[in-house]
Structures are given as C-alpha cells and as structure tokens.
C-alpha cells in the first residue's frame, strides 16, 4: 500500500473497493494502522506547510476535516509543530551528534579521494558552471525584486487605523496556521481570482499573548518561492487583541496557494504562517 494511496484514502479520493481493503486491514492488523497514521501525519504536515495542490486542499477541507476530533487533532498537531520549531535551539545544543562534527581529516581525505576520480572532478566543474550561471541570473532578477518591494512598501506605508477607508477593497481575515481548522472555518482563506478588486486588505490575527506593536516583517510566498518581503510593519488593535494589516494589489495575486510568513524581529519569536488560496 503506497503512501500516495493512503493520502488519497484520507482525501476521500479512492474507489470504494480500495477504501474497504484499507479499513479491513486497519481492523485486522495493528502494525498497518501505524503506517496509516504516518500517512495521515504526512498529509497534515503537507496541509500546514501549504504543500497540497488546490484540488487536494479542497478535498482535505471537504472530506478530511469532517469530524470535530480531526479538526482538534489538526490544531494540536499544528501547535506541536510550531512548538517544536520554537524548541529547535534546545535540540541543537543536545548531545545528538551533528553533521558538522565529522572529523576534519575525514573531510580532507574525502576531498582528495574525490579529486582523484576524473569523472567526478568533471562533474564538479559542471556544478561550478551551473552555480556561476545561477548567480548571474539572480543578479538580474534581484533588481526586479527590489523594484517590486519598493512598490509594495509604498502601498503599505499608509495609515491603516481607520478600516472604513478600505470599503472599496475586499478584506480577508486570516488566522495563523496553528489555528486553522477551527469550527465553522469553512470558506475562510480563499479568494476568487475573477472578482479581485484593485487591492485586497489582509488582516492577520496575532496570538492573544502578543505584546509587540512594531518591528514585524512579512514575506509573501507562492509555491514556497518568496515573491517579496516587507520590514518595519506595525500591529493594530482589534476587538480581541492585535492584528497586522497588509494591502496586496490584484496584480500580485494569481491563482495558487500563498503563505504569508510573519515574524517579529525584536522578539525573534518563531514565524507565524498564514495560508490563503486564490481560486
């Protein structure tokens, strides 16, 4: 039973005969159940990291998040992942051996054994050539990137205190990935590409314990590629705590899955991820 089949099982995308085969094995075989649970974990991670396709995302919300237990599990799982990310420093200082602890002489000997093989040395030359090519390409694109950042920075320099001024814009309120799947969440985090106004206001809800007012930076990612980033953003009060307000023009939003990564540079806390889909 492949991981892909099990993923499709949870997404409700398998024929009935295969569903029955899996479920009968779950009842009869304890070790198989662990395999199934691992596939479920992978699916949850893919969802939280916005690695599902648009159609998989729809199936996930329609067929997977159908019980309160699963929605609670998703939230707990997201918290576990976020907390694990916050504890990385602790793990890094652990007694577990690290990759960079491989001996110096071992590295030297590996290097020379590599150079003594002509085919590998030739392959290294090709790799070096590719790296140079990428650097040249990046140099060209970085100037376009800077222009974009400057433009969006200007748009977001306005005063966002009065929400009344954004009546002409569409508004999307987003909760960080660790809070997704809350009851009645269906429909949030989606915008239609056909009806996008000139600008869309994104309101990113901050955790209740949040105290910082300024020093936020955001990155907008599509398919794990950074589209642009902004610094020195401040938070705004709302009825329940604080939120970040961000204005994105329609030209930057094409169909696909997006993640807004938000970090407070002053507190250096773990980044929060806000997911949304343009359909």
């Amino acid at each position: 039973m492949s991981n892909e089949q099990l993923k499709n099982y949870f997404l409700g995308a398998l024929p009935q005969t295969e569903v029955e085969e899996i479920e009968l094995r779950v009842i009869g075989d304890e070790s198989f159940t662990e395999t199934v649970q691992l596939a479920e974990d992978d699916l949850l991670e893919d969802f939280l990291e916005a690695k599902l396709t648009v159609s998989e995302n729809e199936l996930f919300e329609k067929n997977y998040l159908i019980t309160a237990e699963r929605r609670d599990n998703l939230r707990i799982f997201a918290m576990m992942k976020q907390c694990a990310a916050g504890l990385t420093g602790e793990a890094e200082h652990s007694s577990l051996p690290k990759d960079n602890e491989v001996g110096f002489f071992r590295k030297i000997s590996n290097y020379f054994s590599l150079m003594s093989r002509p085919a590998l040395a030739f392959a290294m030359l090709i790799v070096i050539g590719c790296v140079v090519g990428i650097l040249v390409y990046q140099n060209q694109t970085s100037s376009e990137f800077a222009t974009l950042e400057k433009k969006y920075e200007q748009i977001n320099q306005r005063d966002f205190s009065d929400l009344g001024q954004f009546k002409q814009s569409s508004t999307l309120i987003l909760v960080s990935g660790n809070l997704r799947g809350a009851p009645n969440s269906g429909g949030s985090g989606k915008v239609s590409a056909d009806n996008l106004p000139e600008n869309t206001l994104f309101r990113l809800v901050l955790p209740p314990e949040n105290k910082s007012v300024s020093g936020y930076s955001i990155k907008l990612l599509k398919d794990r590629k950074v589209i642009f980033g902004l610094n020195q953003i401040r938070s705004h009060d709302n009825q329940f705590g604080q939120e970040i307000r961000l204005l994105l023009p329609a030209e930057v939003l094409s169909k696909g899955q997006y993640v807004i990564e938000l970090q407070n540079q002053q507190t250096n806390s773990a980044p929060l991820s806000y997911l949304f889909v343009v359909q």
Binding site: E30, T33, Q37, L179, N184
Partner: protein, 195 residues
Amino acid sequence: MKKQILLRQEDFDKLLDWFSADREKAGEEYETVRRGLIRFFLVKGCGDSENLADETISRVTAKISRLDLSQNIKPLAVFYGFARNIYLEQISANGRIEKQLEPEIDLSQQSRQLFSQADEFAAKGRECLKHCLQNLQTSDRQIFVKYYCTETTDRAQSRLNLAKEVNLTLNNLHTKVCRLKLSLRDCIKKCLNQK
C-alpha cells in the same frame, strides 16, 4: 444516535461460539476484534472510539441469530459492515447538530467569533503542550523536536538523516515519533479538559 440494545445471554454465547469453541480463545478473539474496531474509529476520526466499538459489538450480537454463520464468513468483515454503518450515522448526526448550532450572522461577525474561539484554544493548548513536553524523556523530546522541525524542502531526506543520528531505522523512527505524538496528544486533551 445511540440506541438502547438489550442483549440476551444466548446471543452473547452464540457470538463467542462463532469466534471459537474454546471459551478462552473466544475471549481473546473478542478483545482482538474490539481493539481492531477502536483502531477503525480512530482512523475515521471519531472521538468516542471505544464506545463506538462497543456499540458495534452490541449490534452484531443482537443480530447474531439472523446472521448466516454456516458459510465461511469472516467475523471481521461482518463487524466492519456494522462499524461502517455506525460511522455513517455518527457523521450525519454530527452534521445535523453542527447545522443546528450554526448561527445566522454575517461573515465578519462569524470570523471574529472563530478567532476568539481559536485564540482561546491556542492559548490553553500551548500551555498544555509545554507541560506535556516536559513529561517526555529528554532524548525523546529532542527526537520529537528535530523530527517536526524540518524547514527543508526535502522532509524525507532530513528524517533519514535524523534516523542515522539516533541509530534507528527510518521505520523505527517513524514508529517512535508516531507513539510520542499519540501520547502527547492524549496528554494535551486531558490537560485541556481540566482547564
């Protein structure tokens, strides 16, 4: 959803006979089937998996006189059929309850309500998670943290590296983390219920 089922001793005896003529073996088989049903309901995302497994066994027992047990019908297949029906009833009942509870409010109000619920849940949940993580052994906590903190694009490769670091096969690492996660989840749920 739950129906009151009155079980007769003769039906229960018949069920055990169906499992095995030997009562001890029949008892073991009964427990095996029950555990399997609990796993089924867990995988289907049902919260009350133990009660639903017992409900399934009760319904099969109540209807055992009407089942044709003479042929090579596997008990698992019969229990599965009943379990699936109970799952479908559960889903449709929950759907009805959620629909009844759905308030008729505008979208912005609904969003705010969602945020306040979610924020409250997250704040309590984080406290519980910290508490539960501290209950783990240090080595287990470190494995858990490294396993779920893979910000790389290649999740599979980073987990393979971790398995090498801790001298486990990849399968054993997955199993270990899966069990850690389940114990953490149970701990968090208990903690949330107490708050």
